[in-house]
Subunit: 376 residues, 4 copies
Amino acid sequence: MPDDLKIAVIGGGYMARAHSVALAALPVYVDDLPFQPIREVICDATGDLAAEAARRFGYNRSSGDWRAVVEDPDVDVVDVVLPNDLHLEVVEAALAAGKHVTCEKPLANTAAECAHLLAAAEKAGVVHQTGLNWRLAPAVQQARRLIEDGTIGEIRDFRGFWLADFGADASSPMTWKYRKESAGSGSLGDTGSHVIDFARYLAGEFASVVGLSRIHVPERTPAGGGAPEPVDVEDDAAFLAEFTGGAYGYVQLTRSSPGRKNHCGFELHGSKGSVVFDWERMNELRVYDSRDAKDRQGFRTVLMGPAQPYGGQFWRVPGYQIGFGETKVLQFMELVRAIGGQGDVQTSFLDGLRAKQVEEAVEASIDTRAWTEVAR
Amino acid sequence: MPDDLKIAVIGGGYMARAHSVALAALPVYVDDLPFQPIREVICDATGDLAAEAARRFGYNRSSGDWRAVVEDPDVDVVDVVLPNDLHLEVVEAALAAGKHVTCEKPLANTAAECAHLLAAAEKAGVVHQTGLNWRLAPAVQQARRLIEDGTIGEIRDFRGFWLADFGADASSPMTWKYRKESAGSGSLGDTGSHVIDFARYLAGEFASVVGLSRIHVPERTPAGGGAPEPVDVEDDAAFLAEFTGGAYGYVQLTRSSPGRKNHCGFELHGSKGSVVFDWERMNELRVYDSRDAKDRQGFRTVLMGPAQPYGGQFWRVPGYQIGFGETKVLQFMELVRAIGGQGDVQTSFLDGLRAKQVEEAVEASIDTRAWTEVAR
Amino acid sequence: MPDDLKIAVIGGGYMARAHSVALAALPVYVDDLPFQPIREVICDATGDLAAEAARRFGYNRSSGDWRAVVEDPDVDVVDVVLPNDLHLEVVEAALAAGKHVTCEKPLANTAAECAHLLAAAEKAGVVHQTGLNWRLAPAVQQARRLIEDGTIGEIRDFRGFWLADFGADASSPMTWKYRKESAGSGSLGDTGSHVIDFARYLAGEFASVVGLSRIHVPERTPAGGGAPEPVDVEDDAAFLAEFTGGAYGYVQLTRSSPGRKNHCGFELHGSKGSVVFDWERMNELRVYDSRDAKDRQGFRTVLMGPAQPYGGQFWRVPGYQIGFGETKVLQFMELVRAIGGQGDVQTSFLDGLRAKQVEEAVEASIDTRAWTEVAR
Amino acid sequence: MPDDLKIAVIGGGYMARAHSVALAALPVYVDDLPFQPIREVICDATGDLAAEAARRFGYNRSSGDWRAVVEDPDVDVVDVVLPNDLHLEVVEAALAAGKHVTCEKPLANTAAECAHLLAAAEKAGVVHQTGLNWRLAPAVQQARRLIEDGTIGEIRDFRGFWLADFGADASSPMTWKYRKESAGSGSLGDTGSHVIDFARYLAGEFASVVGLSRIHVPERTPAGGGAPEPVDVEDDAAFLAEFTGGAYGYVQLTRSSPGRKNHCGFELHGSKGSVVFDWERMNELRVYDSRDAKDRQGFRTVLMGPAQPYGGQFWRVPGYQIGFGETKVLQFMELVRAIGGQGDVQTSFLDGLRAKQVEEAVEASIDTRAWTEVAR
């Protein structure tokens, strides 16, 4: 029986539930973990809320004092699922206490802050992870395999997208997502980091960008009624990009595109083959191999299963299907293995930093209406 | 905090893992359950195997003696995931001990045995469930909603299918699935029960059937080598059907269809609309509503999410995707709620009985090469 | 400049227009025809109707007397596009006059009549063709190529379908298609012949069948109003089949399936590969080759173009798309070439006969509710 | 019988064949044309070539002298299908002779030349048409209808694309398409004009653009062998755009994207609905209407047929399919009707001019690496 690895989850909201499901399922799904992950303690804004979260999500303990938790000697890992502007302080404290840390994206509000946390994590010598779990989907991992083994050839172009429609209706109420004060940014910061991560994972580092943004619904009425309030973060962001390896790209992020529920993915063409992915069909990867004979070549719809990376952690039959939840299982699987010395996490704080650097360059390019280099 | 509901899982194989993941995730996913499901004890062929299963799948206790477990006063629910020919005896004993029982399909080897267990369960006054979880997928539930609310109109025809290819390759080795002695039947009994369940759930009860079967690969070589052995259960079964409500249907079940990994689903046409489903895209339902205006009517690709039945138990965003695992969560959710007096399970022993009755009629129609009435 | 080949079209309705477009386009599309096809004369029920048809469809002459036309020494080919019950007499007369004959399906109303016409055509030594143009679509031709070159392996099962919805609405008016007197049969005779032809072309000859039929809308009101009239031909027909080569099949034919506009095609699985086709996407063939590597195998969506049989007669770029019209061009291309001694037509009167033999066996199996052998 | 409209086709290549098929089919497909279109004369580089083209494509006369033809009093319409750099002179002469003119895109090599021809055509008072037939596809026309009738609402973003792979393989030989001298430009000028036309037709006029281009294969070897030659026109062009109405867009044009055969289309989101089109499935339009009920909303796959604009010119059944050829029939149908005073052509010289203005702005934005206003 492996030793326990005691995890503290800081935050008790929607994503805390997703993390908790993953932590509950992880040891049942995956054999031979170096540690047994334990839902040790969950922390929320008050002790009462935390107690309720502990009951619902299955934690041994609860607390309303995050600082005490991250410093608790009986905690091995800190998992940060707080609102964005609280990440910096909590991660910093956890690192100072020598804990392994996994943090939801964005790692922090600015690239400078992300760089600071990365340096602190490296100094602490702990395992650090940014919650960019979307790239862990077997279809995305398989796309990378096809690039690495030469099937795709030299990468020519990449198009990444996350189109959604939760904000499409102008009569849907004002929420924190539409205010700069609370949200920091709109689609670019919200879903953009995952798409930027797809791009970096598959097409390499960004060299320069030029973008635009739109607020389609300039004001919204609060749920309870009253005067409309201004929306001051973008509904859509879109940008052209050049990669350091020579490829070019386009990224589009929206929340106002009717019918697009979670249309998150990419298409990538290389000199020899192509791959296309859409999370709305996350168990499929469309693959084209130009070596197929002329009269029978076409995009293949490849169903994920045991033959693809991470596809075998779950079901033995391709097409049984996994969902978003299993990508969180994979995130924690990588974390636990890395802590046990079995490989690295794919998405460290460095990846959180890189995503933020690209976002900042896009924002600058929108402000200046000019091609802008991406710092690194 | 709700009271504990102590569950004993009888069987330690592949499906036991799937059940255990679901039991681990259930209380984290679903609020307000009437009981807290507890992975109390797991039973396997020997005490050692059971202990190993308990460790891996997270049970409090383990046992190599199933009879002791089902009679254990500290067990509330018995979950049977054994090989098919052991179902009868274990379920019977569990019912005799007054336990609630959930049993993987097939409920038993013959319709007569199924009827016997149904009667025993009703006499015991417990909650009884057959593991026909596939119909619990939100897309299947939504199809039923569209039928019930009149969108589809009178049902005209139903086509159900489960095409797979794990046996397509004649050089793949001999296994228990290809022997009548161990498997009982081939595709008809294996995946057929789920497709028959789709049909009954959506198109109503079967009246009569006429079918055929095929063994495409007549002999296979054992994995370790040696002389080829005969395959004596069908690779494919297919049958025409008439439903009591007037509709007709076709069901096809295979394991030798190249490229079909888990192509399990249905198409159903009514007088006003149509629905199409394929588990390989289990988070989608294709829906046609003939009331749409002529120049903009077409099958809609509806993504499952909170708006569909059971779609809201998991993620708030349509398209985030769930997989096979979540349908097992739903199965246990129904079970726990029914035990708590909150509604009925959708798939009781009666559904297990009905599926077997249809299978037996199909087998008879193949033997006699004649239309055969389905007993009920 | 090749010699003229003077064609007489007998019939002036909707299909006459389709044939005339094809005859107009054929010599422009296709180089090196052995003859120059000439729209010489068109025949309709009266001289006035025929004159109008000649003007609209571009014929040199017109006539209200079909017998004079088929005996006209200045006519080389007779093309019969009349209502079904007139085929026999006209084709017979044309053959007696020594003309090459192409005839829309059904060749005649009974298999016996078809056999009679086949014998007459063979005795006359002319080129004879049944208008089973749907199999000439490049995607269907490519499916056959994949079978012939061994990619698909031994054929295991075939599913053919033509689902439509023009009769789905019970309030749509009574027409000749719903009366046995005028239509002979319903879906089975209407679209069934093409699907049976797909089956024979790809899976081989039929051995035995067992079917059923349904009239979903038992009476319809004439367009001008008045009392509802009974529908006495089937809306749907469906049958199981066994092929002489060992494969089994299912064929479904409807006109009452909401949302199915022209859902005409097949899926076929063999021991090594599979093909799927749907006329609603007639420029695509879905192909699965089990030899593809495990982690990147999947159905390929192959776009038709110059690399496929007959795909190069039209556009140089795959994906430019052709439609129904071009399959009629191909039908006449085969006819003209066969008359010029360049190969045979793929769909002779024999194919018209075979289709009718299968239809008659299906009808018998419905009447007797029993498996029925297909005569040949 | 309508009067003849005598058409002179200037150019005898591949596109001349496509035009000739369309002219042959037009009067057979379409009733009640104001004139009977006549393939009067075809012109090629020499008299011999022209005579051969006349024979193959069905013209009454042929000529090696284009100037004589465009000035021939017995010609009513001049149809220019020459290499791009000859358009200006021929169109100018035809207009000077008072002929109606239809000209393949690009109308001329520069926006200034296009403007000159537009002015000349307006002064001549003739019907003038640019061959932007791709927008005439029923699915594109239907997309416009949905915008005009308010289904889509305010347009938010447009993505247009034409991805192809005929140049993907670096070993494919050098041709005129890869030389600036002969081709003028690469993908931007080749297929870009059609995509720009989609954008203008659906999303309105362009305000500003910023783009990039790539030459993926920097040199190619001539077909006959010899030293590799440099490629000096872009393989890919891509640009961000802002429209005068407030929407934004992205356009991507390639010929080096493996697996993309003729992936030409658009996706457009508005405030209330969305449309998606891909020529590889040109008989479909995907439509989302946000007014559909929450639990059954999804993109509809609408099959083109009589219910859509121009869909009824061909077949009575949705899903019978038309192809590229029929869009050329529609182009000439519009031309003949406009000459007969029945409405305007949709794609006049003005549309040819506008496309070129956008192309020039994109080129400037690539050269300057800056957002560039589009002249109008």
